[in-house]
Symmetry: C2
């Protein structure tokens, strides 16, 4: 049996798009590198400018490169970050592939576990960072637009877990919940009692994983329960 190869042609733009993509995945181009210019790609692939541009447009839409115009411009490989995960989560939520309740439940399940890991990995430097974040929470009212501060403790704990994937998931969920919440409860940012995270923080610093997990669960449960009700009301009034 002769091993004939299929003659199916991909679209030219997909073909060269894939070649460039693979080159990036293989590390031939790393973050900050410039891909060959359009004219060069025309030469390299022996193909028209239109096709080259469509291919690069695809890479841009996939979040792999950033295009700058002008002299010294071109398609630059972007630093691959977990931001892409967050974007996908956000889109899945918008497209109603997951409900607010599901997102909250996922957070309720995962974040306590992450807090436990954080407690197990807690170092003196991390402990100080946590304490500082906690102290700053009291000043949030002075900077009403720093949503980040409100969530800073959660972000730090996520990073402390030592698992970049889990950290990214937690941050993505936080982001989705935060975006949704400001939609149906614009005043939410302003109500945030100081010292809210103290229980969690102390447990983590004491490296008491069990306790950290329990404190985080309790912290989220009250919060989540109320939000779910508010969100449901909001959805009902929408109709």
């Amino acid at each position: 049996m002769v091993n004939f190869t299929p003659v199916k042609h991909m679209k030219a733009s997909d073909e060269i798009g894939n070649q460039l993509k693979n080159a990036i995945f293989e590390g031939k181009y790393v973050a900050g590198d410039k891909l060959p210019s359009e004219r060069e790609l025309i030469e390299l692939f022996q193909i028209s400018r239109t096709v080259v541009r469509e291919a690069i447009k695809g890479l841009e839409a996939s979040g792999l490169v950033e295009i700058k115009q002008g002299a010294m411009g071109g398609a630059f490989v972007k630093l691959m970050t977990f931001e892409r995960l967050t974007n996908v989560c956000q889109e899945l939520f918008i497209m109603e592939k997951m409900s607010f309740a599901e997102v909250c439940e996922a957070r309720l399940q995962i974040e306590p576990m992450v807090a436990k890991l954080a407690a197990q990995n807690c170092t003196p430097e991390m402990a100080e960072k946590l304490r500082e974040a906690s102290r700053n929470e009291e000043h949030i009212l002075d900077y009403p637009d720093t949503v980040y501060l409100r969530q800073k403790v959660h972000y730090i704990l996520a990073d402390m877990s030592g698992n970049r994937f889990l950290a990214a998931i937690v941050k993505s969920l936080l982001q989705v919940i935060s975006n949704a919440t400001t939609k149906f409860e614009p005043s939410h940012d302003k109500v945030h009692p100081a010292g809210l995270h103290d229980g969690i923080i102390e447990a983590v610093i004491a490296q008491d994983g069990q306790q950290a997990e329990a404190e985080m669960r309790e912290h989220l449960q009250a919060f989540t329960l109320r939000l779910n009700v508010v969100e449901k009301d909001y959805r009902d009034t929408e109709k």
Copy 2:
């Protein structure tokens, strides 16, 4: 203070790409719908062919539409699935933004929890589905290329959790681990003792969440430990 609006222009292709994207997010076009044809878009946006094509190419790369050519062709809105989450996870892994060990650990943390949820939601129909999947596992050797069968129990349990986000995460992790494993241990598919999941399945059917969680954790721990070693060896020999 007059509320002047910024005059910064986006690229035309991005501009109309965003408008189309938003229309999709807002449900103006749903899965299966056809976007206006290139000619129509030219009319609607009063813009050139090339720009329209680049915009649509962007949507295609983002996974939002699928382009068919020929009469009755055009850009059709794709059904938004969790596949996108899996793709991003796969890419993050390839780009070394997360290690094999981290992926395994995440699975080890999340899947037992999902098994617990599955146990809490177990219905008679689901129980039967699980039993059938378990029985079929013995026949896997007859169909060596059905990777899916090997993981079927895990997939069913994920769906049983009742949380689409958690299910998607579990499936994505499974996929990443599976892809990586076949790289450094091609023979892996063939070794899969029958009845491996029986402990988990029985606990889930008995609706014993605690037990299901424990069984799943044990099931994964042995598996994970060995794989981590094999993977490390593989990485070392690569250099």
